[in-house]
Symmetry: C2
Subunit: 247 residues, 2 copies
Amino acid sequence: MTVKAIVFDAYGTLFDIQSVAAVTDEAYPGYGEVITQIWRLKQLEYTWLRSLMGRYADFWAITQESLAYTLDGLGLDHDRSLFDRIMDKYCHLELYPDAKQALTALKNYRLAILSNGSQQMLDDVVRNSGLASILEAVISVDSRKIFKPSPEVYELIQTELGVGPHEVLFVSSNAFDVCGAKNYGLKVTWVERVTAQALKREIGGNVAVRPATMFKALRMRMEPFGFDADFRVNSLAELPLAVAKAG
Amino acid sequence: MTVKAIVFDAYGTLFDIQSVAAVTDEAYPGYGEVITQIWRLKQLEYTWLRSLMGRYADFWAITQESLAYTLDGLGLDHDRSLFDRIMDKYCHLELYPDAKQALTALKNYRLAILSNGSQQMLDDVVRNSGLASILEAVISVDSRKIFKPSPEVYELIQTELGVGPHEVLFVSSNAFDVCGAKNYGLKVTWVERVTAQALKREIGGNVAVRPATMFKALRMRMEPFGFDADFRVNSLAELPLAVAKAG
């Protein structure tokens, strides 16, 4: 493998989207978990639905739409300042605990992000998390007016970094993103944060399940589209060794 | 309103996709509800993801893929005959109890289905439910190799029935489908089967929620894309009167 650039998905891969639960639960005690999960699930849906309708809106607008859907659907009142306070967390998401160390260990490669996020929200969260100096480029899909997993989006890596698909290792924990990147022709590492065994134990045979468990069941296993990841790690901490092994 | 044709969405609007729970729970006692919900949520996701990747597969294949994802994700073993038995329910879905009477009351209009389903699975479920003689046409998106809510799909009504968008009333309980049809330019009735109030009561402030409740929260409220339905009913039983009033 002649990898020159390692390109990361942002939300759910480097940045823990579950970390919004701190603000959603503070705003609506007892509802934090269900808000957090529905918000994220609808956010992704809206990227796909708007792309398919030919009605692109940027990821900040979509993140607002999906939060509005979530609060309205749950019958939770909100005013502008509360809404904005919750939204602001998207500019201050926590990094996964092993993210910075993994990126630092890979600093001999060209490192970048390719994300659905708008340029502004990506720049904000990258700066606020202290990753700005480690990353060569933060690439937003916004210039293409379509979202992952459209092949048009992954092409931006070549356009922006000037490297061919075979010189890129793409890293994502989002299975649909793994499939999209493979479909375009990149080498891909899937960060498999939830194994099938762990999920099975968590669901058990329970009649009711926690919204966070439902989220895992919906979003954290591989989609069976016939695109297998080239590499699989269980956390970002394993990535440097996996890259070294792959040569 | 000079409506000539009333065109229905199939799955979730005329046919109760929740009626698969009878077979999923028989096959996997205690897991019927969670299988049913994840299966349907992933089925829709896959229509969007495959459309966006430019990797169309017909709805029968997608329904198989989403069932496989669901069972594998939950760690549930399956052999070919069990899998096929569950899939077969998609050709024998129950009608909503008020569907046939509503369609019969509207028989002075040209009546049709426009659905994501493949032609074969639609023809099967229409015949098995006794709707074949009531419907003039059963239109599958399959000829366009893309799924709802792409505008290309809604154009099939004009192609197949020879009526203009202003002469069509489209009826769907799926909010993304309502938005897609409005985006294309049809008049649309939304069958709002779950109100915000009912959903709020059902969710309460519970830590764990039933998968069916999570499904309702994710799929049964209007998407905030700025496309409002022209008419709203709470059940198909209300449709004939609503159509008569709209003139």
